[in-house]
């Protein structure tokens, strides 16, 4: 690894992580998670009765995720309301979280997870997943694990963890590739794999290893924030 990162981080280092649980009193569970300048907040409502009624499933509960950017969280104001991008991220975020939640315990209900980005500096979906994972735990939803998410990027030929927007826009050599990954904290299972760019199949194996390493630190940050609020109560 030869690349020099503009903020002086090592290849495997994430940005400074900030995690806080219990930020929205109305919600059953809530949390914020930040990777440096990327700030995500998440609220969990439910399990509660799912409406309209025909959407209800008597065998299993439904996890419904919404992800979006606040209009002022980016340089060029984002038009309020869902976009194709935000709808796609909402869906994959749900898929990233579902493997850890015992939805069968809540038939006919919905668990709503709302994720919003206050400030975007790349890695918004990963920060959102980290926040949502904590918010679900805070809401007391039975979970077999926490989900830790981080992006691994490629700057020309070097793999680095948790890209900033500046790094994401890197265009020398092979350019930048951004691979968003979510991993279950206590097993080697991956629940989010989302990429666009240019990367060789063998390199993806390395990417998964780097994401696993970074996940350990994210897990610690999440646990610490959750403990703070439990002990505070």
């Amino acid at each position: 690894m030869t690349i020099k990162r503009s903020d002086g981080r090592k290849a495997h280092e994430t940005r400074k992580m900030t995690a806080k649980v219990g930020i929205i009193p109305n919600a059953d569970g809530s949390a914020m998670f930040a990777f440096g300048n990327t700030v995500a907040i998440a609220a969990v409502y439910g399990p509660r009765k799912l409406h309209p009624q025909h959407m209800q499933d008597p065998s299993i509960g439904v996890l419904r995720c919404t992800y979006d950017l606040l209009s002022f969280s980016v340089d060029d104001r984002k038009k309020p309301g869902p976009s194709r991008r935000s709808q796609e991220i909402s869906k994959v975020t749900g898929w990233a979280l579902e493997p850890v939640i015992d939805l069968e315990a809540f038939p006919n209900t919905v668990i709503d997870v709302q994720i919003y980005i206050l400030q975007a500096d790349a890695g918004t979906r990963t920060a959102g997943i980290n926040a949502a994972s904590m918010a679900l735990a805070h809401a007391g939803i039975p979970m077999k694990d926490l989900v830790c998410s981080v992006a691994v990027g490629k700057l020309d030929r070097d793999l680095v963890v948790d890209l900033t927007k500046e790094e994401e826009d890197f265009s020398d050599g092979e350019g930048a590739t951004d691979f968003a990954i979510a991993k279950l904290a206590s097993s080697n299972e991956f629940s989010l794999l989302q990429l666009d760019g240019k990367i060789r199949p063998e390199e993806i194996k390395e990417v998964l290893k780097m994401a696993s390493e970074a996940s350990k630190h994210i897990y610690e940050a999440q646990k610490k924030a959750l403990k703070e609020v439990v002990q505070g109560d």
Binding site: D76, R84, R85, Q87, E88, K91, V92, W95, E98, P99, F179, L184, S187, N188, E189, F190, S191, L192, L193, Q194, L195, D196, G197, K198, I199, R200, P201, E202, I204, K205, L208, S212
Partner: protein
């Protein structure tokens, strides 16, 4: 319409012993049939049959403004529309997630592979550029629309002809000449892996696809003899273990080569 638990359990057992209903091996694609010129109004078009799954893809060119972040590049817009005629499972209303994902995955696989040289689609820098509209319509959905649509998109792009501009700068669709600015070497394909229980399969039929809980789709191309993954998306409620991913990543180039071999005359 979802598959019953009985079917799911049966398929799971069948897959575990390496078998499938239609006699294929787990890592086999169905027969691929490709034809072109579905519509002479389109700048390029293709029809793909993957077993009983059938998709038509058309390329149209229009004139538009470049995006502010790429003033020196033409535009690419990929859209999928799940016509109700193609399946009793499709529902009316605004585009659902499956349609959105179809367009977006295809867009990423093609854009990131560098197959299209968008910088050659500029008419007046910063003001006027060509937009390539790539529209996908399933005609019969019997599973694995994603991979079928990608084949159709590549073939349609390869067969497309550029319309010309008349002296007022309007598009003259009657006079088409020359192909789109495409790389001769790069032709990205989509390869999706589906997981049921512990088994990984490719190219599921509708029934198999609905039984599977989890999918991972790759956009892959080959450039300078190296395989390049240009897009990846995991879908569905379960996860993949590291071992499963490593196995899939070893299988990926083989599936890509196999599809390429079968599509040789068209790519």
């Amino acid at each position: 319409m979802e598959v019953s638990n009985l079917t799911k359990d049966y398929l799971n057992k069948l897959f575990s012993s390496g078998k499938r209903f239609d006699g294929r091996k787990l890592e086999d694609y169905r027969d691929v049939e490709v034809s072109v010129d579905v519509s002479n109004k389109a700048e390029g078009s293709a029809r793909v049959k993957l077993g009983k799954t059938e998709v038509v893809v058309g390329v149209k060119l229009g004139i538009g403004e470049p995006y502010p972040d790429s003033p020196d590049k033409g535009n690419l817009m990929c859209t999928g529309e799940l016509l109700l005629l193609a399946s009793p499972r499709f529902e009316a209303g605004p585009p659902g997630f499956q349609a959105i994902e179809l367009g977006r995955l295809l867009d990423r696989a093609i854009r990131e592979s560098g197959m299209i040289d968008l910088s050659k689609l500029v008419i007046t820098p910063g003001e006027k550029v060509w937009t390539i509209y790539l529209d996908i319509y399933p005609i019969n959905d019997d599973g694995n629309l994603l991979d079928a649509a990608n084949i159709g998109a590549i073939v349609a792009l390869k067969n497309a002809k550029m319309p010309s501009l008349d002296k007022d700068g309007k598009i003259d669709y009657e006079n088409r000449k020359g192909g789109l600015p495409l790389s001769k070497e790069i032709a990205p394909l989509s390869v999706s892996f589906y997981k049921l229980g512990e088994t990984i399969i490719v190219d599921p039929t509708r029934e198999e696809e609905e039984a599977c809980e989890t999918r991972v789709t790759f956009g892959i191309s080959k450039w300078n003899k190296h395989y390049m993954v240009n897009a990846c998306q995991k879908a569905g409620q379960n996860s993949f273990t590291e071992e499963e991913m490593n196995k899939i990543l070893d299988l990926l180039p083989k599936e890509f080569e196999e599809l390429n071999k079968r599509l040789k005359n068209h790519l």
